[in-house]
Amino acid sequence: MNQSRSFLIKSATLADGTGVDLSIINGKVDQISDRLESNESFDEVLDASEFLLLPGFVDLHTHLREPGRESTETVLTGSQAAARGGFTAITAMANTNPVADTAGVVEQVARLGREAGICDVFSIGAVSVGLRGETLAEMSAMAHSAAQVRIFSDDGNCVSDPLLMRRALEYVKSFDGIIAQHAQEPALTQGAQMNEGSVSSLLGLKGWPAIAEESIIARDILMANYLGSRLHICHLSTAGGVELVRWAKANGMKVTAEVTPHHLLLTDELAKSFDPIYKVNPPLRQMSDVLALRGGLADGTIDIVATDHAPHSMEDKECEWNAASFGMLGLETAFGVVVESMINTSHMDWNRLVEVMSKKPAQIAGYTNHGEIAVGQSANLVLVDPKARWRVNRFASASRSINTPFHGMELTGQVRHTFFNGIHVVSNGELTGHSYEESL
């Protein structure tokens, strides 16, 4: 019985630099103290003197591909990748097949997540039936289902019709829902392949202008403010978008925003290889955008990091750029990329990293068992080696897919141990095979 296993984590350092010992008993954080006596009542004692102890990471933007494309990812393999990446909660996007636009589908994903038992798997419901942008999906039914959906998104597609967006923003107020918008004006991005700019012009790839993203962000910020609704901007990718969100917040408007790890590190120069491993939606932008995103994440304009983990088959990437699918893996590299792009560049400290990867996403989505380390709380924790340098190997991934743009890249900061509800799901960077489900 795993859940009954008790742990003593010795000599860890918290994000604020405090040295602590922490004990886990019955899945909960039992004691936190500057010194806890190691004794035989603990099943395992972990020397964490080289490690930072952080609340488990929380992802609000994960593509799990089940149901529909289980050959590229399942709820189980996605959960495994998440745990290896230090995540104790992930949130499955709605663009599965069938689409998560009914209570049945979101409950199925939630059940598969519980059965996997490696992290919490929450569901995002679709805004519109079939993500088609025509009629509203039964969001209330999803909200009141066993899956308790709070976030709704047509991600992959933009809710571009202003009337549909208005109705969706209004409708979800009754159950404190959030509309997570994939900001992309479709008329300005027909057939678009990469960021529009000097690189796209050089390569002859159809450009994806920043204004296609920014015009929707501007519209929706104003609309959400007018309606008093909760709006979340998915994967912000442009400097102009950061400015719009900054302006909205300065004027007291209710909006939250996320940035992906890849938009914090990579630029559209990579498209010069014509290797579609770098093809993603929204596209990789220019260095000036990357720097604006880092600044925005550091100063609180951008609330959280979200992976937009998007597994794709080899077949969908091993082809010419235009024919390839949009998307890249993110769960297992998120922490290292954030350290590389934000900590190593002195944009932020470990406290802020905890805010953007754990605390704030848990708050936005209402995941009360996540996002903090406190006595009596579920032990959703991660131990990271902040100094470890490691090389990303796409073949050493728990994911069913290998489409990471970071393959071969050296990153700083490695996840060593992950505890989910007190279960030691990742030990020394490897999956232990233990799950919360089997412990029940």
């Binding site: 000097s198 002859g204 790839l205 014509f274 750029w321 235009n322 024919a323």
Partner: protein
Amino acid sequence: MQEKGMNRHLLSTKDLTPATIIEILDTARELGRITDGGMKKLPTLRGRTVVNLFFEDSTRTRLSFEAAAKRLSADVINFSAKGSSVSKGEGLKDTAQTLEAMGADLIVLRHGASGAAQRLADSGWVDAAIVNAGDGTHEHPTQALLDAYTIRSHFPECANDFSALNIGIVGDILHSRVARSNVFLLKALGAKVTLIAPPTLLPIGFESWPVNVSYHLDSVLGSLDAIMMLRIQSERMSELFFPSEREYARDFGLGNLRLKELKARAIIMHPGPMNRGMEISAASADSPRSVILDQVSNGILIRMAVLYLLLGGNPVPVEGVLV
């Protein structure tokens, strides 16, 4: 050919150094001299197999490569992927590997997707040399080479240095692989290049290109030594790039009145196929200044030179043919 760009493949003119370009142009001239001298077919590439892999229709380009390969005695396999079992998004890897298994030493690739040739060259899917015969709206390097060859033969005093020449490229720059390849190749030779188009047909970010830009054909017409008219496709109208064919022709077409404004020695070029009456009038196309048919015949020489230089690492020794 140890320099970057034509080392193994010909994918883009951006990769070509001036020395490499001159080597290709000189080789083409030499091949022209030999074939003009009565030797219509050279045994240089006997036993080598050139595959024309065309995912997009282009009869002219395919025929030109085919003629070039045959004049060098290569075996030629033509594969038109359009309309065959190859459908959207599949087939580049499999088709190329299949053709290589049939003995292809060099693949001439025409593809609707920008970057397809580079993708094939970099992927490791095949060992064959790759020649980009047009990839989407990216590049068409042999077209730019044949254009440079044509310009050089009309301005022999410029030899290896085009810095005295003003060259205008007129029309749909945004969607033109011919324009992209020409911009970088002509620049490498030192020419002054001006792009002339309505703002809707100029790519965002062209400011970083080594060119001048004008929205007004008439204001630059009289300064040009060569004017390249690009084909304008009528579907661009439905895509809202310009209001009507008439308005486009009025502002950017090389009509009979503009013909008179050209410099005394200026030449008129067009990569074909032409829309007579749209971007170019019949009188302009057929005028003594037009070198459009020279471009076609020079295209064969250029493609012979490219095939020879790429496959000639260990050429079948033929005494006295080429040094």
